[in-house]
Every structure is written in structure tokens, then in C-alpha cells.
């Protein structure tokens, strides 16, 4: 786990307790009470098959059990999948193309009916093959499974036509892949594998009445935006569950809770958890950091999010590597760190892997003294790229993300002294990846040379982190996340190979290599391994930071009863 904030001189002492990062705080077997969550906005969807937010994935574990899940353990161990509905982790065929899982016995939905392999198959079908309805989740299964031109359960109501998954019997599920994929268990841990009974599916409306396979179920039908209440699911059998996720009697989520107010109430104990898990806002941060009592209940873990600027080589003058290098050398990362809120908001990143991902190495290509940029090297790079007096370009950012905006301004400031003139271009986050930064054509047309972005892994592996932002095949016309438009055959080959490599340690080596190659391309300017300031009210028990979800493990939380 990441250590506490290191004090980089001049400022106040801001190290917080951090004990929930490495251990379970207030371990207790007590049950009961109402666990209260707050959301500053609302869930994009509570349908386990239609969501892409870590917080939702963490939260859906209350009512949607998956084939495989992450254990309730702090630290690195928490990232290693364990079987949940399945009896074991996936069993892969020799050719690496078939993954097989077997369901435990006596698994039941909230209505008492049995959970069968068909229900899991249906869940995969609806969440990955019906983009016309459910398009919010990832679509790894769609990409990997060998399923011809299957059109999804809404257009084709014969599930047998879905050949990517087969169910030889009620408890066996076989996944048939186009190509081998070594990290399939991570996919099986996604909420998309949570079983959905076909006759209860209402498409996009399923989120209002999810059929529970976990310890809690919706209290009545839920209207999005209204308070959500989960009550115990009487049909749930803890014996079948590797996790203890049934401590509170009731779970509530209130939506649209204003951030500052939410933080206040978190600190005074009215609320237990901010469900989004992104940490407290600036105002509460100051309160906590100035108060030793509060510090004792705070954690400052890395969120697994890496903040970086992509430098797009298709925009002039960045077709010249030296020009890209000028940016890398000229950037003052401490200023960008300041923009996000100082060391409490993150550690300066020097390469493109977050430290918690296996394969991370503490390297610093293009590093500069104190990470504040190097005048000498920048000027040399500018000289080399033939623009000793600098040049102009644009920096794009998401206009409704204040800190990203500030970071862009910081970059603008530090480049200015070298004559590199940048214009800031803000776009709404809602369309950033679909229309602007995520559209190579747009990037080229509007000359977005430097693009602010941030990335977190879909699952805790190098592949999970890097494939979307570095693999040449993931460059898309719209919704592109390989913003550097990196299409390095070496990188592509390594990533492809890692997918078929069973041995974790050789995979780690490959990830290190990819990281090094990506940095070498000078199209990435990583600057911050983001950290969140989390506060855990005294009344919570069994609190620890889950490395898998990068927030407190919600399923484990309990309340102190007294």
C-alpha cells in the first residue's frame, strides 16, 4: 500500500492515520444497524450489467454476486480473485480458448428460485450484446467471446443462438474465446457475470428492480434519484459465500447530497460513507488536516488513478519526438500536483503504471530535478526539434473538472517560460471522450496537441490498465481512449502476448516493458498517482481500503453497536 503523505517542505504536517490501508480497522463480528451512504449525484445505473464505475461495482456486491470476486483483505492480497458463485476459479482448456466455471449448489435468487448457469449466460448476453439498450458497461465479453453475429437477447429471444457461452448443465458455464486470454478471472469478477433471470429482465428498467443474488435486496421498486434502501434477502445463504457481507440490517443511499454538506455529516457521524469513494472536498480536507483527532480517522490511499497528459503525435509539431520531449522536460509536475491539491491529492508520477499494479517499477524516464522541469533539457529539446523559440499548441481538458482545469493551467504556466504558448480548450466531460478528445479526427482538426486525461484499471493488472490507452487496436473513431494514438508494434505485441501468458511473473515483466516503451515514445506525460483523502466515521467497523476497487470495501462494512 502507498505510504502516508510525504512532507515536501515548507508546508504543514499532513500525514494522516492511514491504518485502513494496510489493516482492517475495528474488526468486529457485530451485526445490525442501518448503514448510510451518500451520493453527491446519482448512480449512472444500479443494473450490475450496465455500469462502469468502480463505486458501483463495489456497491453492487450487496445484491449481485458474481462468478468470481475479490477477497475482503487489505493490501495486495485483496486484488487476487477468489471464487464466489463458482466453486473455483476458472478452468482454462489447453488451447486457452475455453474457460469453465461450475456453480455452487443451493444458490438462490431473492424469490427462492435456483440460480442456474443459464441465468449467468443470460446476464452476459444482455450486458454485452445489446448495446442498443444497455451500453454503459464495458464490453470485454463482446470483444473476446466467439459468438458469430449474435444480436443479443432483445432481438433474438433464443438464447441458444448465443454460442459464446454454453451451459452443458444447470451448474456449468463455458466461455468460448476467440483468442486466449490469461486474465479471464478478472472479467468473471465483473458485475456483468451476476446472474439475471431472463423473465425478470426489463432491459434498461431492470435497475429499478434488480433480482438479488446477494445478502440484500431492494426494498420495493426503486426510482432512480430517490433514496435507495436495501434490506436483507432472506433467501441468501452465507454458507455459500466466501465473504462476510451481511453485517448491517439495512443499507441506505441518499442521492444528490451536496459535497461540503456530505463531508460535514461524514465527519460528525450522521453519514457513514460517501459511496463515490473519491474522498472529501477541499474544505473538509483543510478541516481534517488541521485536526489531529480527525486525522486519526482518515486514510490517504492511492486511488489507482493515474493522471497524465497525452501528447498527440498527429498534431504538429508533435510529429517530432524532440518537440514532445520539450513538453516532458518543461513540465513542472509539482505545480500540477499543487493544482490537484498538493501531496495529499497524489504522489508525483514518473511513469505510466500506478504503483499498486503488479509490474510497477520505480523508474523516471524524462525525470527532472525535483520534478519541476529542466530548463537546460527543455531548451535542448526545443533546439533539436527546430523550434528554439518555442511554438504554440492547445491543451484540452474537461471544463467541469476544476482540478484538471487547474492542472492544465499549471502546465500552460510552466511551458510558457520556454516560449511554448498554449491555449486551453475546455470541453464538457460528458462528451470529452465521445466527441472531442476521444475523436482522433477532432483532435487533429482542432489541433489538440496536449490532452488532459486520467486512467484507472478495469482490473488490477497491467493489461487491465494499459491495453485501452496504449494498444494500437484500441484507437477508435469515437470514444477513443488511446489519446496518444500510440500504435507501436512492439507494445501491441507485448500486450497481445501477455493475454496468452499464464505465468503471472512473466506477465509482470511484459507490463514493465510496455510501460518503458510507452514512456520512451514520449507521448505520455504522467504527473500524478492520485490519492484520495477518505474519512471513516468512528461508528464504522471492519473498514479497510480495497485495492481491487480503490475505495473502502463496502461489502465488509459493519456498524458498531452500542
Amino acid at each position: 500500500g502507498g505510504g502516508g503523505g510525504n512532507d515536501d517542505g515548507g508546508g504543514s504536517d499532513i500525514s494522516v492515520d492511514d491504518s485502513a490501508i494496510s489493516s482492517v480497522v475495528d474488526e468486529s463480528a457485530e451485526k445490525g444497524g442501518t448503514l448510510k451512504y451518500a451520493h453527491s449525484d446519482q448512480f449512472d445505473s444500479l443494473d450490475p450489467g450496465n455500469t462502469y464505475y468502480a463505486a458501483n461495482w463495489d456497491f453492487t456486491r450487496y445484491y449481485a454476486r458474481t462468478l468470481v470476486t475479490y477477497p475482503q483483505k487489505p493490501g495486495q492480497k485483496g486484488q487476487e480473485p477468489v471464487p464466489d458463485l463458482a466453486t473455483d476459479l476458472g478452468e482454462v482448456s489447453d488451447d486457452g480458448l475455453t474457460w469453465t466455471y461450475t456453480l455452487k449448489k443451493d444458490l438462490k435468487f431473492q424469490d427462492g428460485s435456483d440460480i442456474t448457469s443459464e441465468d449467468v449466460k443470460y446476464a452476459i448476453a444482455r450486458s454485452n450484446f445489446a448495446p442498443e439498450s444497455l451500453n454503459k458497461g464495458p464490453n470485454y465479453f463482446f470483444q473476446l467471446l466467439e459468438s458469430g453475429d449474435y444480436e443479443g437477447p432483445y432481438k433474438d429471444d433464443n438464447l441458444d443462438n448465443f454460442e459464446g457461452v454454453t451451459t452443458p448443465d444447470d451448474r456449468t458455464i463455458e466461455f468460448h474465446l476467440k483468442e486466449p486470454f490469461a486474465e479471464f478471472d478478472y472479467l468473471a469478477a465483473m458485475p456483468q457475470t451476476a446472474p439475471v433471470p431472463a423473465d425478470a429482465d426489463t432491459g434498461t428498467q431492470y435497475q429499478t428492480d434488480v433480482v438479488s443474488s446477494g445478502p440484500y435486496q431492494f426494498k420495493g421498486e426503486w426510482t432512480p434519484g430517490q433514496q435507495l434502501t436495501l434490506v436483507r434477502n432472506e433467501e441468501y445463504d452465507p454458507e455459500t459465500d466466501p465473504l462476510t457481507r451481511n453485517r448491517p440490517d439495512e443499507v441506505q443511499v441518499k442521492f444528490k447530497q451536496e459535497e461540503n454538506d456530505r463531508d460535514k455529516r461524514l465527519i460528525n457521524g450522521d453519514l457513514h460513507v460517501d459511496v463515490a469513494g473519491l474522498g472529501v472536498e477541499a474544505s473538509a480536507r483543510q478541516d481534517i488536516l488541521r485536526n489531529d483527532d480527525l486525522k486519526a480517522n482518515a486514510d490517504n490511499p492511492q486511488t489507482g488513478f493515474l493522471l497524465y497528459f497525452a501528447i498527440n503525435p498527429n498534431v504538429k509539431p508533435f510529429d517530432d519526438k524532440a518537440c514532445r520531449e520539450a513538453i516532458l522536460y518543461g513540465a513542472d509536475k509539482t505545480a500540477m500536483q499543487g493544482a490537484w491539491g498538493g501531496s495529499i491529492a497524489g504522489d508525483i508520477a514518473t511513469n505510466m503504471l500506478p504503483p499498486s499494479i503488479p509490474g510497477y517499477k520505480d523508474t523516471a524516464p524524462y525525470g527532472t530535478e525535483g520534478q519541476t522541469g529542466s530548463k537546460k533539457k527543455t531548451e535542448a529539446a526545443l533546439e533539436e526539434c527546430g523550434m528554439p523559440d518555442g511554438f504554440s499548441t492547445n491543451i484540452s481538458y474537461r471544463s467541469d473538472r476544476d482540478k484538471e482545469k487547474k492542472a492544465a493551467e499549471a502546465l500552460q504556466q510552466s511551458l510558457q517560460q520556454y516560449g511554448i504558448k498554449t491555449d486551453l480548450k475546455g470541453y464538457p466531460a460528458g462528451t470529452y471522450t465521445s466527441e472531442q478528445a476521444g475523436s482522433p479526427e477532432f483532435v487533429k482538426r482542432e489541433e489538440l496537441g496536449i490532452i488532459a486525461y486520467g486512467w484507472g484499471a478495469d482490473w488490477p493488472s497491467g493489461y487491465g490498465f494499459m491495453s485501452q490507452i496504449m494498444h494500437g487496436d484500441s484507437i477508435k473513431d469515437a470514444g477513443n481512449s488511446n489519446l496518444s494514438e500510440l500504435d507501436d508494434p512492439e507494445v501491441n505485441k507485448l500486450l497481445d502476448k501477455s493475454a496468452t501468458t499464464d505465468d503471472p511473473s512473466s506477465r509482470e515483466q511484459m507490463y514493465s516493458d510496455v510501460n518503458a516503451l510507452a514512456m520512451e515514445s514520449a507521448t505520455f506525460l504522467p504527473y500524478l498517482n492520485q490519492k484520495a483523502l477518505l474519512y471513516r466515521p468512528e461508528s464504522l467497523s471492519n473498514v479497510y481500503f480495497s485495492e481491487a476497487y480503490k475505495m473502502y470495501d463496502y461489502s465488509a462494512l459493519g456498524l458498531e453497536q452500542n
Binding site: G11, Q286, G338, S399, K406, E409, A410, L424, K425
Partner: protein, 332 residues
């Protein structure tokens, strides 16, 4: 946003002869403009407002000079002024000192004084230009509606109703969002400012339009218009030579009162994050970031807040005074 206040009649119909004869002895031969100026000069409060307005206009014009003399470049980060851990300004009073007159911004350490000075540019520029757009549009539409009456009037009046029924802020926000990044040969902030001017000006014209229409409507009924027509004057001549001079006073008063409204509007848009692009300083934009630092850097909230307040107040004071001065009904 602002409800239209009652306007002084361009028409001094009510002016009794007796007053012209007795009270007006000294004023004989003076134009109403001169009289208004005499009255305005006596109004200390309005003149103070006017002086402040002039001052702010100068500040906006000479921003680089002033910021250069008394401050630091507005977009320059001064990280040495910031506690790196908390992001708050070092030293008491939000970093206020002889060097940083109004202190520094949290996180970036930018000089608040310079940003206020530069923010004045945006506020004044958009306030003035948008008002110009509203006034030109409103006057033209109002005169046309009032003078020609009939279905033209009905149409324009409905149009004004429609504009007035729109939630302006939402609209402006949405529009700023859907418009492209480069158009009309403009780009970036120039385009942003143009768009803001257009939106603010375009959505505010009905307020002035209604007033001008009302005035025109009553003026049209006056016999001097008929007299002019019976002399053979064309519509254009009547509009220009007979009506317009009578509309100058309300137009002037309303422009002065619309500018502060538009300044507030711009500040509101910036506050909501749809103003000009950063790092350009705007008062509204500064305010929107200030609340998190209310106790560690209250100056960050107060400086732009007071800047908006004082500027708007000054315009309002001056506008009120001008209205009273031009109002034939206020006698003493």
C-alpha cells in the same frame, strides 16, 4: 432578471404651463439636456457613482499598466506563496501584503489584485457590448412595434413575451455549450466573448424593447407626429427626427441601468462555469472557486464579490440619478 422600472416619460405632457412660466424662467432657452446635466451635477450620490464607473472603465482600459505597476502578471503562478500541503496561501490574511495587495489565490498563488484588475476588462467589455446589442435591437424592435402598430406590433410583442418566458441563464448555458469552438472567423476567447455578448445582449433586448415600444406608442398618438405627417414627412423622417429625440432619454437611462444587469449576468455565467476560457480572470469565475477557502482565504471571496458589487452599485447609482435628472416630473 431585473423588472423594468417605471420610466420617466420622454413625454413631458404633464408639465404644466405654470411651471414652465414660473419655475422655468431661468431655464428658458436651455435644452432639456442642459437642465438634466445641471440637475445631475447637483446629485452628489449619482456623481460619485459616475466617478466610480469612470474609474473602473479606466482600470479596465489600463489593466496591463496598473497590474504591471502594482501587481504581478495575472496568470502567473506564485507557488512560493502557497502552502504546498493544503493549497492555502501562506501568511495571514490570505497572503495580503504590500507585494500582493489583495493577497493570492489558493492553489496557484496568482495575484488576486491583478486578476481583479484584468477581470474588470471582461466585465466592462461584455457589459458594454451586450448592452449595446440589447439597446440597438430593443430600440429598433420597440420603435417598429410601437410606431407601426397592428400585426407588426402584435408579432413583436409576442416575440418579446417569448423571450421573457425563457429561463435566460439555462438558455445561455446551454447555448454556450452547443456552439462550436471556432466560427465567424473568431476563435477562443474572442469567440467566447462574442458569444457571451450576443447571448446576453440578445436575450435582454425585450426589456428595453418593451419600454421603447410603450414610449413610442404614446408618442405616436401625440399631435406633433400628425403635424409632421401633414407636412408631408415620410415615416423614416418621423421616426428619426420626431420620435428618436424623444426616446434618447429613456434609451440613455435604460442603457445605464442595463449595463450593471449585464455585468451581473456575465458574472453569473462565469460563476456557473460557462464564461470565458481560463486562465483569463473573471470576477464570477473567481467567486465560484472561493467558497472552499472561505476561512483560510476570505479575501479570495471578498475581492471579486466586492468588485462586482461596487461596480454594479456605481452604475445603478449613476443610472438612478440620470433617470431623476431626465425626469421632467421630479422638480426639486
Amino acid at each position: 432578471m431585473t423588472a423594468p422600472l417605471d420610466v420617466p416619460g420622454a413625454a413631458d405632457e404633464a408639465e404644466p404651463e405654470a411651471i414652465a412660466a414660473s419655475g422655468g424662467v431661468r431655464d428658458r432657452g436651455r435644452s432639456l439636456g442642459q437642465i438634466a446635466w445641471m440637475r445631475l451635477r447637483k446629485d452628489k450620490v449619482a456623481m460619485t457613482g459616475g466617478a466610480f464607473v469612470v474609474l473602473m472603465a479606466l482600470v479596465a482600459l489600463l489593466a496591463p499598466l496598473i497590474a504591471g505597476l502594482l501587481g504581478h502578471p495575472p496568470n502567473q503562478w506564485n507557488r512560493e506563496m502557497i502552502d504546498p500541503a493544503l493549497g492555502t496561501p501562506m501568511g495571514g490574511l490570505g497572503g495580503m501584503s504590500g507585494d500582493y495587495l489583495f493577497g493570492v489565490e489558493p492553489v496557484t498563488g496568482r495575484d488576486i489584485f491583478s486578476r481583479i484588475v484584468y477581470g474588470a476588462r471582461i466585465s466592462m467589455l461584455i457589459g458594454f457590448l451586450a448592452t449595446l446589442v440589447s439597446v440597438v435591437l430593443g430600440t429598433i424592435m420597440g420603435i417598429i412595434a410601437g410606431y407601426f402598430g397592428g400585426w407588426v406590433d402584435a408579432l413583436i410583442s409576442r416575440l418579446m413575451d417569448i423571450f421573457l418566458a425563457f429561463p435566460l441563464l439555462l438558455f445561455a448555458m446551454a447555448l454556450v455549450g452547443v456552439l462550436p469552438d471556432a466560427a465567424f472567423g473568431l476563435q477562443d476567447n474572442a469567440l467566447r466573448i462574442a458569444i457571451l455578448v450576443f447571448i446576453i445582449g440578445f436575450f435582454n433586448w425585450p426589456y428595453i424593447g418593451r419600454i421603447i415600444r410603450g414610449q413610442t406608442l404614446s408618442l405616436r398618438e401625440r399631435e406633433f407626429v400628425e403635424a409632421s405627417r401633414s407636412l408631408g414627412a415620410s415615416n423614416l423622417y418621423i421616426l428619426r427626427k420626431e420620435l428618436l429625440p424623444n426616446l434618447v432619454a429613456p434609451i440613455l437611462v435604460y442603457s445605464t441601468l442595463l449595463i450593471p444587469t449585464n455585468i451581473l449576468f456575465e458574472a453569473a455565467l462565469s460563476f456557473l462555469g460557462v464564461g470565458v476560457e481560463p486562465p483569463t480572470a473573471t470576477w464570477g469565475g473567481m467567486l465560484s472557486e472561493a467558497v472552499d477557502y472561505y476561512d483560510s482565504a476570505p479575501n479570495f471571496m471578498l475581492a471579486p464579490g466586492l468588485a462586482i458589487f461596487l461596480t454594479v452599485l456605481a452604475f445603478n447609482l449613476f443610472g438612478d440619478g440620470l433617470r431623476d435628472a431626465l425626469d421632467p416630473r421630479t422638480q426639486s
